[in-house]
Amino acid sequence: MAFDLKAALLLTFGQTMQMVISSLLAAIIIGGSIGLLLFLTSNTLFLKNRAINQIVGVIINITRSIPFLILLVLMIPVSKAIVHTSIGPNAVVIPLAVAAIAFFGRLSEASFSDVDNGVLEAAIASGASKLSIVLKILLPEALPSLIKNITVTAVSLIGFSAMAGTVGGGGIGDLAIRYGYQRYEPEVMFICVIVLVLLVQIFQIIGDSSAKKLDKTSK
């Protein structure tokens, strides 16, 4: 073989993990907060506010309706401004994070909305403050569903990160395209795909088992 496959795999795997983990963290923190905001502004028990809810909702929808490939290109100037480069894993983290934030924002809103309103109402009736209800009732009640949705987001991010290779983002997807497609070395592509499949499986297993552990709703 003309190049050191093992070294290339290690390098690109590291790049993929870097892209996925950092954009996933952004999605959880920022997207989760947006999801919470969407929920709180839609619920009369908390801070119902149609205006804020609709404005934020529309922004999320617009972001989500832009195809990822186009978002990648659109974000080049933003990446340049923030991370001072428009190439490499650092640069594509920005569009990945933006897509993931919008994606997880909606999903986490759904997780919060699925919490039984009666449970929240009982907490309001007990005289607890809204902040303590959010932290100690809403979050634990939504947590298993949030974790499932974090898993879904992570798996989509693995797919998106492979696409990011096309604008020079690096990562395993990039390796697969460059060697497998452009230089026609199908075994490299095959190995890359296996690595991606395994990575998705691992995320899925960790996500499912921790969601199950935290979910006490069945016997």
Binding site: A123, S126, G127, A128, P140, E141
Partner: protein, 337 residues
């Protein structure tokens, strides 16, 4: 204790105004168990939820302990709510929290320290007889146990008032009666004022002192439970009662009988007197008892008896006069042949 002053609640629906509660104006006394009955959609829950302002009122005032709470907001409202517990048909326990954590939450939210919380939760669990379930999750409890946890949570901050929205509607008969007797005990022991909504009139009969009947947003009847059950003033109440008090003679039986058939109602004191045997002896007539029962409403007996009278026409007339004078109510169902 709780006073409604011309309270109305309106909802806007498709630009139309819908009056869910219409001019409620009455008082619930300290220490009583007060029932609210009425058909579905009558506005019972809406009225109940105005007491802790889960539902804001459109007009009128609500006084709790003489204080107008209608415009309470923020801190004031949260303190009020700590003193008013509430339980629900579907218990509404946080499902990912243990029994202990569910109760501890409302104590910590009220600013109690960790050790105060621990002592109080254990005390409450003992009170509702669930000390061994502290670390269970709601999914592993029976319906009755869940409702007892909800009661413990509602009373955690020493509530003086307990609001109950259909608290036994999701429970079987046996569990219902155990929850009701727990509520009765709490009322006796701590003097807690209990307001209970139910569509099961048996619940009202067994624990309430007074009750209100609602229909289409209005309180149409209010008074002592015994009075309302024995002599309802409004047709709607009579209808409501007939659904549960299904107690009448089948037509075939009535038409088959030879003698006159009367329906006697015994109340309170005279329910236990031997009026029938006295009438039988004095007027020399016979009684053929067709159907009868005695039930207890708020601890007082109410008896209903269908009898066929056998004897001479004249003496039967006298007997009917005597019985009419000595029972709560006498209705001639059929004059006989």
């Amino acid at each position: 204790m709780i006073e409604f002053k011309h309270v109305s609640v309106n909802f806007k629906q498709h630009k139309q105004i819908f009056e869910a509660v219409n001019d409620a104006h009455f008082k619930i006394e300290k220490g009583e168990i007060f029932g609210i009955a009425g058909s579905s959609g009558a506005g019972k829950s809406t009225l109940l939820r105005t007491i802790n302002l889960l539902q804001t009122v459109s007009s009128g005032e609500i006084l709790v302990d003489g204080e107008n709470i209608t415009n309470y907001r923020r801190n004031q409202l949260r303190i009020l709510r700590r003193n008013i517990g509430m339980i629900f048909q579907h218990f509404n326990l946080a499902r990912n929290l243990t029994v202990y954590q569910n109760i501890a939450f409302v104590l910590k939210a009220a600013g109690k320290s960790k050790s105060e919380t621990e002592t109080r939760v254990n005390e409450l669990l003992k009170l509702v007889n669930l000390s061994d379930k502290a670390n269970s999750y709601p999914a592993n409890l029976s319906g009755g146990e869940k409702q007892r946890v909800a009661i413990a949570r509602a009373l955690a901050n020493d509530a003086k008032i307990l609001l109950c929205d259909e608290p036994t509607s999701a429970l079987d008969l046996e569990t219902t009666s155990s929850i009701l007797s727990l509520l009765k005990d709490l009322n006796k022991k701590f003097g807690i004022t209990i307001v209970i909504i139910t569509h099961e009139l048996d619940v009202i009969k067994s624990i309430c002192n007074r009750c209100a009947v609602m229909n289409k947003g209005s309180v149409i009847e209010i008074g002592d439970v015994y009075d309302i059950f024995t002599k309802p003033r409004v047709d709607f109440t009579r209808q409501l009662l007939s659904h549960t008090n299904h107690f009448s003679l089948p037509e075939e039986i009535i038409s088959k009988m030879q003698g006159p058939i009367i329906r006697l109602t015994f109340k309170g004191d005279n329910a236990n007197n031997p009026i029938l045997s006295y009438a039988a002896n004095t007027f020399q007539i016979g009684f053929n008892i067709l159907l009868g029962k005695i039930e207890y409403i708020n601890g007082l007996p109410l008896g209903i008896l269908y009898v066929e009278l056998i004897g001479e026409v004249d003496t039967i007339k006298l007997a009917i006069e005597y019985l009419a004078a000595n029972t709560a109510d006498l209705e001639v169902i059929n004059h006989g042949l």
